[in-house]
Amino acid sequence: MRKFSIIIFLILAFFIIYFLQENVFNAFTISGIKPNLFIIYILFIGLFANQFVGISFGVICGLILDLLYGKAIGVSAIMLCAIGYLGSYFDKNFSKENKITIIFMVVGATLIFEFGTYFINSIILEFDREYFNFIRIVLIEIIYNVLLSIILYPLFQKLGYLVDRNFKKNNILTRYF
């Protein structure tokens, strides 16, 4: 029952993030560059819930985004699925207690998502790749995502461990020692 209510909460969080991204961050940009909260959201689910939930949410949210904005259906779904998996991989290999590791996870996830999406899209839609401009945009987006995750870190921790307690079989301590 608790798992079900957490899933409902995560779905609600998706809509909140969607409206924030659409209405707030489309206007509040750094040099015209918007952050991508969906990457942080799926990374968070992969990190604190389990691999299955991370991947499922990644695919479903990616598909919704593809249907809403995408020029090729499935690209965001594949990449967000990868981010969900990456979150669970990070969870097994790194500590979530440290803010610095969270920052590196956000950097890695943003890099992988944007590189993947851009290159798959460039193959499907056959457009010329602009490497320099792409790197410039990704770097600014990474800075924006990192700043947002630092601000949201206390919220991550509180909500994260609530999700963690309900989705992980083992106690947190026994997983580390």
């Binding site: 991204q21 040099s31 560059i33 904005y69 457009f127």
Partner: protein, 272 residues
Amino acid sequence: MNRNRQTEILGGIITAIILILLIFLSNVEVNKLSYLESVASSIVSPIQRVFADLRNKIEGNSTYFSNMDNITKENEELKKRNSELETELRELEKIKADNATLQSYMNLTQKYSSYNTIPAYVINRDVSNFSSTLVLNVGSKDGVKENMTVIADKGLVGHVISVTENTSKVQVIIDSASTVSCTISTTNESIICKGTLENNQVLRASYIPTGAELIQGDSVYTSGIGGIYPKGIIIGTVKEIITTSNITDRYAIVEPVVDFSKVDTVLLILDN
């Protein structure tokens, strides 16, 4: 532990301030930094006002507590009147917004009366930094089909790439995957305009014929080649011509006439 928590909160606050400053400074032109002056004055003025009041009282000029009962009664009445006016104002603003939308629909339809068109409203904008799509409030039940041309008050916006029953997705011409065949107004030469990641407010015009003489300020129109866009819709003006060592590689920066970040009312051309 408590100290760690405090440091964490402080870190969060400092990061938020840095983020707000970054957003502010990257979006505001340097000559508009006089805002800072008004911010500074708004910080100082309340304190200054307290000092001024104190000075007035000492000098015997204050009438602040003279007729408290009357002031309270008057205040109540004014508050009531204020809330009534606010309600009226909200209603008026809604009517004004509806009127503006209808007016812009009408203006657009009149301007492009030679085409069979339907008006539409932008309901969603792309959230990605690498693509530019719009979602419109009209779909297949309104007669929208894929590849239909979308125009705004000033010029070309893009074309429909997918349609649902109630909505349609439009690829904007500044999208990095978009290509439009165009002609230059003065020389009638054909060029190709593409979206670029360098700046999401301009187009890059390439494949300029070696003999073509481009002039800054030349208008660029759709050529009608390619099968999507009809001939003669204005796209923008030549902003800059970049010459390279090899003349075949030269390109131009075209500034679209439509401001895609603000466009909210468009027309779909039904019969291309």
